[in-house]
């Protein structure tokens, strides 16, 4: 079983290396198939391993295995450990499964790009990193995966590196993630100092013994890492920019897998967070704020992928709320369903963009329903799932989170509950704003000029792009049935052992009640969107609810977070660096001890040369004065 996990981990790495080494010796088309095949194999391994895990008795389901000692120094020791349990299995399946589909999709999407091989190498590298992150049995190893994920994300966002905007976005993502890495690393330091180990076993066993301040500090530091990776407040600004990358990347990394790593981390570290209630509350607060803010911003975006990106941020904020409330299973469940419908939405958007020759602005779309019916259908399913319309998957998972808030019942939980419902309204509006602007209404002139012709020639897309979408559509529709309140209980049962201190589980009544409310709100949101955007008018991109220019302006500028960072950090740092270089380092360290002293000694040397004037009687004078002077000094001294 562990062998399979190792294999699943090694396969994408091997794929990446193979692609990098073979390079142009590999036919361009072959690269995609090779990468996809690797992913399929990895998925198969994961699936079989999961089945084998399921056959084990409950208490033997957490398996640890060390390949070799990775790093040691003094008492500090990190093994190359894998930790395979139920949570790992879920993540493995999501990463390899969705990953496989996206690989296949990419074959079509990237066709004709001259850098195809590089793309698939990066994709495989990403999957390896993500797998390392989820199977790691040691916090340091998790951090390694954590960082490598960021690296692959950087590479993929900046894949089209000729575009300065893409490179800028990639750098931004990397730096933000590096901040998160540092936070995570600091948390690991603290845990090592307190517990003497960074392996999960030791940390889980020792978490309870930590005093509450230490536990809170460690948890908050880990949370910094989670926030950066999952693009949550206040480290979220990189995610919308990350849409500069190719669409499959957005689907894989910025929807299904990487950005959910923060949720995974919190769920994984639940014994620690359990010991740090303040940290959990912080997570809830951040989650609520994030889901509202991201939903609001999504209302006014015009880039199709950015809308989905903000939606992703918002949905992950839901997951944060879930894990923050202690309903780890609900958070992971939402992660699971979200992976399907969000990947689906991105891939659908990718098909649209493909058909429009790269156009991403929703104002240049419209009316595509008739041209691309299959895509429309699939995306509709995805959108409904996102809004949480019964019986699609998103509803079950989101409502599980909200109803958990009911179960918890603290004031904060109530806030979360209300916030979540408001968020659901926003979700309905922005999702169907997207759908209406893209697929309904009258075709924009650009779309009219491009889309019908493209579809006529190539169909809605190559089958390698469509089939993954179909599969995901199916998944988005049905995976929610794993956990139908009162009926099925698979997900909770499966994940229950990962939280030794127990998980919050709402009652079926709470869940159904919430579902009722949430679905109504969602439908209301759709209706509002219909009211606003289905009618033809001259300003479709405007969210006309907020008439104040201030709100519009603020939302369009994403509530000024980027500007804040620029003014608060970037510019001062740039200025400081320039100042130090020009006015401090060069003169003080560079000039003064070398040229400065050199100038001084040269001046002294020339002064001495002046005395050495070549006139012999002047030399004699110096000698005479020297003798007289020495004599005087010594006679005075002797006297």
């Amino acid at each position: 079983m562990t062998g399979l996990v190792w294999t699943a981990l090694a396969l994408p790495l091997a794929g990446a290396v193979l692609l990098a080494v073979l390079g142009t010796r590999l036919p361009a088309r072959g690269a995609g198939w090779l990468a996809s095949l690797v992913m399929l194999a990895a998925f198969a391994c994961s699936a079989i391993a999961t089945v084998m895990l399921a056959t084990r008795p409950h208490e033997e389901r957490a398996v640890v295995q060390t390949a070799w000692t990775w790093l040691t120094a003094g008492s500090f020791q990190v093994g190359l450990d894998i930790w395979f349990d139920e949570l790992t299995a879920v993540m493995l399946l999501v990463v390899t499964g969705i990953g496989f589909l996206i690989h296949v999709y990419s074959i079509g999407y990237m066709k004709g790009d001259e850098q195809e091989r590089r793309f698939f190498a990066y994709l495989n590298l990403f999957v390896f990193s993500m797998l390392l992150l989820v199977v790691a049995g040691d916090l340091v190893l998790l951090l390694a995966g954590w960082g490598l994920v960021g690296l692959s994300s950087y590479l993929l966002i900046g894949f089209w590196h000729q575009k300065p905007s893409a490179i800028k976005a990639a750098k931004k993502a990397f730096v933000m993630n590096a901040i998160g890495d540092v936070g995570l690393a600091l948390g690991i330091f603290l845990l090592f100092i307190e517990l003497g180990t960074t392996a999960y076993q030791g940390v889980f066993a020792g978490a309870a013994s930590l005093d509450s301040w230490t536990a809170t500090a460690a948890a908050l530091l880990l949370l910094v890492g989670a926030l950066a990776k999952s693009a949550q407040l206040p480290l979220h600004t990189w995610l919308p920019d990350a849409m500069e990358g190719p669409t499959p990347v957005s689907a894989l990394i910025h929807a299904a897998t990487m950005v959910t790593a923060g949720v995974y981390l919190i769920a994984r570290m639940n014994p620690l967070f359990h010991a740090a209630p303040y940290a959990l509350e912080t997570i809830v607060v951040i989650g609520v704020l994030g889901l509202l803010m991201a939903g609001a911003i999504a209302l006014v975006q015009t880039d199709i992928k950015r809308i989905i990106a903000f939606s992703t941020m918002s949905q992950i904020a839901y997951m944060f709320v879930g894990v923050g409330l202690g309903a780890y299973w609900a958070g992971i469940f939402h992660l699971f369903t979200h992976a399907f419908f969000k990947a689906l939405l991105f891939m659908g958007a990718g098909i649209v963009i493909h058909a429009l020759h790269g156009e991403q602005d929703v104002r240049n779309m419209g009316g595509l329903r008739s041209v691309m019916p299959k895509t429309y259908f699939c995306m509709l399913i995805g959108a409904l799932a996102l809004v949480g319309i019964f019986p699609l998957s998103g509803g079950f998972s989101k409502d599980a989170i909200l109803s958990s808030a009911l179960e918890v019942g603290t004031p904060l939980a109530w806030v979360a509950y209300i916030g979540g419902l408001v968020g659901a309204l926003l979700t309905g509006i922005y999702t169907f704003r997207l759908m209406f602007l893209v697929f309904h209404r009258r075709m924009s002139p650009y779309a009219e000029a491009v889309a019908p012709k493209a579809v006529k020639h190539h169909g809605e897309g190559p089958s390698s792009m469509l089939w993954p979408v179909y599969i995901l559509t199916l998944g988005a529709a049905v995976v929610g049935f794993l956990q139908i309140p009162g009926l099925t209980h698979v997900f909770f049962d499966w994940l229950e052992p990962i939280a030794p201190a127990g998980m919050v589980e709402p009652s079926a009544v709470q869940e159904w009640l919430t579902t009722l409310i949430a679905v109504s709100i969602g439908v209301a949101g759709i209706a509002i969107a219909g009211h606003l955007y289905l009618r033809e008018n001259d300003a479709p991109e405007r969210m006309r609810l907020g008439r104040g220019r201030l709100i519009d302006h603020a939302l369009e500028h994403r509530l000024y977070w980027d500007d804040l960072y620029e003014v608060a950090f970037e510019r001062p740092a740039q200025w400081l660096a320039a100042f130090l270089r020009r006015d401090v380092d060069r003169p003080v360290a560079g000039w003064l001890p070398t040229d400065g002293l050199g100038t001084l000694t040269a001046f002294l040397g020339r002064s001495i040369s002046v005395i050495e004037n070549g006139v012999v009687r002047s030399y004699a004078l110096v000698i005479a004065l020297g003798v007289a002077g020495l004599l005087l000094a010594l006679l005075v001294r002797a006297a």
Partner: protein
């Protein structure tokens, strides 16, 4: 029998022979490369035979100048072996690059590089203060000549700056060594063992100054930028890759063990300087207009960080510092070779004239990316492992120390990404468009590849190194650690 003496004598003699005998250019290059590869083999043999717990090994100890109590005493422990290994590798790669790039009067450059290697080995293996001084000062000569003769436009000034700094430091150290050696209780004795704990503050500072300049530790880094910028790529690689490590190594292997009391007492100062230097170098690297500037300031930052790690005086700090030195040697040597290659091929290292090189140059892009990512310590890389250890040690020392230091990691990410994108990405620069530089191939690739592969290897299993280094490095700081605990 191959011992540490072999490591020193063979490249020294070979270097002098190659320097003097006017071989044909190619022949001299191949001979030098052969010797350098032989050294790699010899060091590999040492690594294979090394017993981590057995202290100093492969040593020789013989009378040299008995009148002064000076012995030819050389041996390698884990730390020294790690440094020697990386030196052998870096020098071989630098020679390979030089051979490929082709210089006028090759035999002289190659001979001098081999001589440098010999002196470096001497520094890393010395067990006698006199021997140590010979290596420490001796390596300066060939490097200076290499810089002064084969350097860039502004080489004169660079040379003078290097001399002004380094000579000053080492000569004061010489006086300190004399004091230690000649005032030994049982007559003159220059062995390091006899000097442990005997120094006073002045002697300590004389040593510290020399090492700080060589490292370079903030604020004594003024010579670095001109030296690194004006050297030819292979010399810059040796200079920043391994020669500067002599300073860091000396802090760990000489200063701290010899002066446990002072090291513990003044540790705070070195920690502070290391911290400032780490951030300072990173900030300045961020504003450099060319690749070498970035790498030079990142070297300052990294070496300051190493000093910080050493003066934490615990196992993670010292092992991490050693490991970090190895990593940085590989990274900066490779980056300098690459930056130098770029300058030759694209006509300039100026960012404004570069850019867009990744387009249709997959090998260059891959190698540069791997190195860049290693340099910015992407988690999972070997540099990450070493920085992690140092930061962990810093955090254990004081939480705020580790926290502030970790800012440097983020800054490192920023300047390395700037370098990568300025060179590889975005629009093609003017010079790139005009000169159409080729992809990284043949000799230049072969020279950089071993360094990159070594980095990858160390990323896969860093413990292979740390396990060998750890007992030695812990031993080195144990005395000072005891003092620190006692305070």
């Amino acid at each position: 029998m191959i011992t540490a003496t072999t490591l020193i004598t063979v490249p020294l003699i070979a270097g002098i022979v190659i320097l003097i005998v006017p071989f044909a250019q190619r022949l001299a290059g191949y001979l030098a490369l052969l010797v350098a590869l032989g050294m790699v083999g010899a060091v590999a043999g040492f690594v294979y035979r090394f017993e981590p717990m057995a202290g100093y090994q492969f040593g020789d100890d013989a009378e040299w100048i008995p009148q002064l109590g000076i012995r030819w005493s050389v041996a390698l422990d884990g730390v020294g072996l790690a440094m020697a290994a990386v030196t052998a590798l870096v020098v071989a790669c630098a020679l390979g690059y030089g051979l490929w790039a082709g210089r006028d009067r090759t035999h002289a450059t190659f001979g001098l590089i081999l001589i440098t290697e010999a002196f470096l080995f001497l520094v890393f293996a010395a067990r006698d203060l006199f021997v140590f001084y010979v290596g420490f000062e001796g390596m300066l000569i060939p490097l200076l000549v290499l810089l002064a003769v084969w350097g860039g436009e502004d080489r004169r000034r660079a040379t003078v700056q290097v001399v002004a700094y380094t000579a000053f430091g080492t000569l004061l150290m010489l006086v300190a060594i004399l004091w230690l050696g000649l005032t030994a209780p049982n007559g003159p004795d220059f062995s390091m063992a006899a000097a442990v704990g005997r120094g006073n503050d002045l002697v300590f500072w004389a040593f510290a100054l020399a090492f700080a300049i060589k490292s370079p530790l903030f604020p004594l880094h003024g010579w670095v930028l001109p030296a690194y910028r004006q050297s030819s790529p292979e010399v810059a690689a040796v200079l920043s890759g391994v020669a500067s490590k002599a300073g860091g190594f000396a802090f760990l292997a000489v200063l701290v063990p010899l002066f446990p009391e002072q090291s513990a007492r003044y540790a705070w100062l070195f920690i502070a300087l290391g911290l400032i230097g780490f951030l300072w170098g990173a900030l300045l690297a961020f504003r450099q207009p060319d690749g070498r500037g970035v790498i030079a300031y990142s070297s300052i930052a990294q070496m300051s960080f190493v000093v910080l790690g050493i003066f934490l005086l615990n196992a993670q700090g010292s092992t991490g510092a050693t490991f970090q030195m190895v990593n940085h040697a590989l990274v900066s040597a490779a980056l300098f070779l690459l930056a130098g290659w770029l300058e030759t091929q694209a006509g300039s290292g100026d960012f404004r004239k570069l850019g867009g090189l990744a387009r249709s140059r997959p090998i260059l892009a891959t190698v540069a990316l791997v190195l860049g990512m290693a340099a910015l310590a992407v988690p999972g890389s070997s540099v990450f492992a070493s920085e992690f250890l140092i930061l962990l040690a810093a955090f254990a020392d004081a939480w705020w120390l580790g926290t502030i230091a970790s800012i440097g990691i983020v800054l490192a990410a920023m300047y390395m990404l700037r370098w990568i994108s300025a060179v590889l990405h975005e629009r093609e620069g003017d010079l790139v468009g005009q000169l159409r530089p080729p992809d990284l191939r043949s000799g230049a690739l072969l020279a950089v590849l071993p360094l990159a592969l070594a980095l990858i290897g160390l990323s896969v299993a860093p413990a292979q190194l740390t396990e060998r280094v750890d007992p030695s490095s812990q031993m080195m700081v144990s005395g000072a650690y005891g003092e620190k605990e006692a305070r």
